[in-house]
Structure formats: structure tokens, C-alpha cells
């Protein structure tokens, strides 16, 4: 049975805090670029972008990243043959903040980094996630975490966001 562990208000607060931390650790957000991993990572990126805009009055670019071709659980994974879908923004020499809803094994993020590298050479890549649930299988960690939720591998974390699911909440089952 699904149990709601984070409500909309707490999620909003977590996103706001991530935004403050991004400002705090970057001393100027001029060369920042947000790249959201499809699907919910994109909404996370847009929400952070709108907060930065409200606070600092600077609009920073947001891009969507589809990592499906780079996943390592597909059969045809000869990465040299994968054709990268071009991002609609320039990431060369930018500080890219990757955003996703849940950080779990780290494989999605690895794939995302491959995808990024194939389209440009960012100055730096950081990672912002709404939930870190542990159980990494790769040496990857998030720079900005909304909420650490310790889980067992049997459990499932389900993030719902207003833009696509109608309401903001995080459930565990």
C-alpha cells in the first residue's frame, strides 16, 4: 500500500531550499544552466528556474534531456553508434546542474552525464535531486538533495508532481 511520506508543502519547501543552496554555493548564477532529466526532472528544473528568477531576477536556460538511448539496461548499447539528440542550449563552458526526481542506483545520472558529454564540454556538472533514497551502484552523489529518504531495495518511491500527476507528493510502497 502506498503511503504518503512527503506532502506538497514539504516538497515546495525542499525545492526552495535547493534554490537557496544553489545561490549560496555559486556566488553568482550567470553561467548556470539547468538540465532536467525526462520526465519529472524537467519539472524540477523548471521549478528551480522560476525560483531563481523570482529571487535574483535572472532567467537561466533550461533544457530537457532524454537519456533513453544511453541507458545500460538496453540491448543495443554500443554507445559509439548512439546519435545524440541535440540540446537546445549551449552547455560548453557552462556550469550544468542536472536535475532529477529520485536518485537511486546512479545509473540514470551516469547515462545523463554521457549524454551531456556527447553534446558539449561543460565547465562543471552538479546534481540536484528531490529525493535521495540510497543504494548507489556507481560512485555518484548529489550536490543538492531535497530530502534523504532511507529505503529498502524492495520499496518503491513514487514522486508525483502537479504538472503531470495533478498534485505534489512523494509516496513509498
Amino acid at each position: 500500500m502506498a503511503k504518503e511520506i512527503i506532502d506538497g508543502q514539504t516538497m515546495t519547501r525542499a525545492l526552495t531550499r535547493i534554490t537557496y543552496e544553489i545561490i549560496e554555493r555559486n556566488k553568482g548564477i550567470d553561467d548556470l544552466v539547468l538540465v532536467g532529466i525526462k520526465t519529472r526532472g524537467v519539472f524540477v528544473a523548471h521549478r528551480i528556474e522560476s525560483r531563481l528568477k523570482q529571487l535574483e531576477n535572472i532567467s537561466i536556460p533550461v533544457a530537457e534531456l532524454d537519456i533513453t538511448p544511453y541507458r545500460d539496461d538496453h540491448e543495443a548499447t554500443d554507445l559509439t553508434t548512439v546519435k545524440a539528440e541535440p540540446l537546445d542550449i549551449d552547455i560548453n563552458n557552462k556550469h550544468v546542474i542536472l536535475t532529477d526526481d529520485v536518485l537511486y542506483t546512479g545509473r540514470t545520472i551516469r547515462a545523463a552525464m554521457d549524454a551531456l558529454m556527447s553534446v558539449g564540454r561543460p565547465k562543471k556538472i552538479s546534481l540536484a535531486v528531490l529525493v535521495d533514497r540510497g543504494h548507489r551502484e556507481l560512485p555518484i552523489r548529489a550536490d543538492f538533495v531535497g530530502k534523504n529518504i532511507p529505503t529498502s531495495q524492495k520499496e518503491k518511491i513514487k514522486v508525483s508532481m502537479k504538472e503531470i500527476d495533478g498534485e505534489d507528493k512523494i509516496e513509498i510502497e
Binding site: 545561490i23 549560496e24 525560483r51 529571487l55
Partner: protein, 362 residues
């Protein structure tokens, strides 16, 4: 007994006395609180103030004796239209409660005319007296309000509010107990210290975070506290509430201004700039931050008042400093602002984590 409320500009409002029969003088403050009168009257912020409540009838929902924000301090007088005899547990009515606190009060005053007068002419000194002859007028005109309000309400000796969580040092500038209640709820191991404690004294307590509390009076009267903030802010996460916020701003070369229409209301809307979220929170301040200086400083504005655009919260861009000018602990008023304490705990924990990581590598 007939008594008079006399204002600095010579205006006289006749009324009937209740509570203590002493003559009292102080800064007249118009409060638009409808409930939580108990908390307003016992709030150390009101040290040296005569509170005038604009609600036509005070105490309609009774007096809850569990609602208090301090045990030692209280306002210097209350001005009301009328009061109700109703009680919560059959124990005490508003007037009897005021009598018990030995506060002088005056009722049957046209509080709306009074509020209008103050809105037009600004906040001023006032006195509750038995006469309104020339001598009384001279007295009120000659009255100099004491500049040491914080000294009167701040704890003289440090004391703990023990728990098992984060260690928070609270610099008491006129601390409301509800701040401690909120910290206790979050398991914080707090130590409350005098407003004049030096940076070394506070550092020796090895805090995880520091809170500069709310308090009465003009922040410019506290140069020593400002100097201490300048030292401490480099090394510790800091939360400033009310007067604490103003001091932190002054410590960082920002300026403050007196509000034309001071905020004394238990439920005023505040917008969180980042998310656009609206919170209804308790306000009790006559000063605010000067926008011109915030723009040029390292602070970003995090909260603004919806009604008049006043800055209600700021945050440092790269140091772990957050401030709110409203009162997140409520008491009185709605509890929307509690999240500020969660945010501060998050801030303290993230600083701790970063420090831990740094120690590991160095």
C-alpha cells in the same frame, strides 16, 4: 474611575480606568490583534509600550492563562474599547487578568478614532493619567523614553533549555517563549544568553547555530551586539527574527527605516518570493529594511509583505544567514510561519554536513 489617555501632541482621550491605578507612560502602539491578547500583553517586544487594541471588544473568547510569552515582562498599559466578562475555564476575565498582572488599563476609549489619529500623525508617546491639566501635558512632553529596553528584558544569566538535538545558542533580545517551544519541538538543545555576550563567550558554547531573537526598541541602540554579529556570522549559521534581523542587516552595512504604518497585527499576508507562496503570519515591528541598501548588499529578499511591499525576510547569498522580520513562532496568530524553523534546522544541518566532509578531507 475616570482616567485619561494623553498623547504627546496634547490630544486627550477620556475613558474609565481598570487594572492597576498607577500613572504610566510609554510608546503608544496600535495593535490590530483580534485574539491572542494574552500573548501580546506578555510579549517582551512590548516593553515600554502602551498597547491600544482596535478590536471593539477585547477578551470575547476568554483569557487562556496558558498563553504567555514571558513571566517577567509585560506592556506598560492597555487601551481598549470595551471588554467581555467571558472566561475559558471560569477562572478569570480580561479585566481581572490585567489587574492580576498589575498593568494599568483604560477602557471606553474611542479606539478607532485613536488608531486613525496615530495613522495620520505617526507613533507617539502617551500616558494614562488621572487628570489632563497643563502639568500633565508638560510631563508627557518632557518624557524621554528609555533607550535600554533590550537590557531590561534580556536574561542576565545564561540558562539552558536542554534536549538531545542540535545545539542552538539564542541571543536574548526579548525572547518570546514560543521560540523556545518551537525549538523544543524540534529537539534543539538550546542555551539562552544575554544580549551583550561577547563573540568568545558564545563561541565557547560551541553552537551548531545561533538565533538572534525578537526584541523591543531601536536596533541602533545596540552597537555591541552588532559588532558581535560581525564576528560570529563568518563561522556560524544564524537566524535573525524581528529585532535580530534588523541587527544582522546593520552588521552588514544595510540601513533600516521606520515604517509609516507600523506592522502590529497578528495576521498579515507575507509572500515567499521564491515560490510565490502566501503565508499569514504575526507581525510586530515598526522598522523595516531599506530596499536601496539590500540591493547593493549580499542579501537577497526572500519574503515581502503583500499589503505594502515591505521587506519581511532576507537571506545572505553565500553565508548561512537567514532572517525574517515577522514572527514565525506566531503567538499570537496563525502558525503558517513555523516552516522558518524547519528551514533554519535544514540550514544548520547542511552546514554541519559540509564541515564534516571538509574535516574528513583535511
Amino acid at each position: 474611575m475616570k482616567r485619561y489617555l494623553i498623547l504627546e501632541d496634547g490630544t486627550v482621550f477620556p475613558g474609565e480606568g481598570f487594572g492597576s491605578s498607577i500613572i504610566t507612560t510609554g510608546q503608544l502602539v496600535i495593535s490590530n490583534n483580534r485574539t491572542g491578547i494574552e500573548q501580546s500583553v506578555t510579549d517582551p517586544d512590548t516593553e515600554g509600550q502602551i498597547l491600544a487594541f482596535t478590536i471593539p471588544s477585547v477578551g470575547n473568547s476568554g483569557i487562556n492563562r496558558d498563553f504567555y510569552e514571558s513571566i517577567n515582562s509585560q506592556c506598560k498599559g492597555v487601551v481598549i474599547g470595551s471588554s467581555s466578562l467571558s472566561t475559558v475555564d471560569g477562572s478569570v476575565s480580561f479585566e481581572n487578568w490585567i489587574t492580576g498582572l498589575k498593568i494599568p488599563g483604560i477602557k471606553n476609549v474611542d479606539v478607532r478614532a485613536l488608531a486613525k489619529h496615530i495613522a495620520e500623525h505617526g507613533e507617539m508617546k502617551a500616558s494614562i493619567m488621572d487628570t489632563h491639566d497643563e502639568h500633565a501635558m508638560d510631563q508627557i512632553k518632557a518624557l524621554v523614553l528609555p533607550p535600554d529596553l533590550v537590557k531590561r528584558v534580556s536574561t542576565r544569566q545564561s540558562y539552558p533549555n536542554p534536549n538531545m538535538g542540535l545545539k542552538i545558542v539564542i541571543v536574548d533580545l526579548g525572547l518570546k517563549y514560543s521560540i523556545l517551544r518551537q525549538l523544543s519541538y524540534r529537539d534543539c538543545n538550546s542555551i539562552i544568553v544575554n544580549y551583550n555576550s561577547t563573540a568568545e563567550e558564545i563561541e565557547s558554547l560551541h553552537p551548531d547555530g545561533i538565533i538572534y531573537s525578537n526584541g523591543p526598541g531601536n536596533p541602533e541602540d545596540l552597537p555591541r551586539t552588532i559588532k558581535t554579529i560581525q564576528v560570529l556570522q563568518k563561522n556560524y549559521p544564524i537566524l535573525g527574527i524581528g529585532l535580530g534581523n534588523l541587527l544582522i542587516a546593520l552588521a552588514n552595512d544595510c540601513q533600516i527605516i521606520r515604517l509609516k504604518e507600523p506592522h502590529h497585527e497578528s495576521s498579515l499576508a507575507v509572500k515567499e518570493v521564491a515560490s510565490g507562496k502566501i503565508d499569514f503570519v504575526n507581525h510586530n515591528h515598526s522598522y523595516t529594511l531599506d530596499e536601496k541598501y539590500i540591493g547593493g548588499s549580499d542579501f537577497i529578499v526572500t519574503n515581502v509583505c503583500v499589503a505594502d511591499g515591505t521587506i519581511e525576510g532576507i537571506r545572505h547569498e553565500y553565508l548561512p544567514i537567514m532572517c525574517v522580520l515577522f514572527e514565525p513562532e506566531a503567538a499570537p496568530g496563525p502558525t503558517d510561519g513555523y516552516y522558518v524553523f524547519d528551514e533554519f534546522i535544514d540550514l544548520v544541518e547542511s552546514v554541519k554536513k559540509q564541515e564534516g566532509a571538509r574535516n574528513q578531507w583535511n
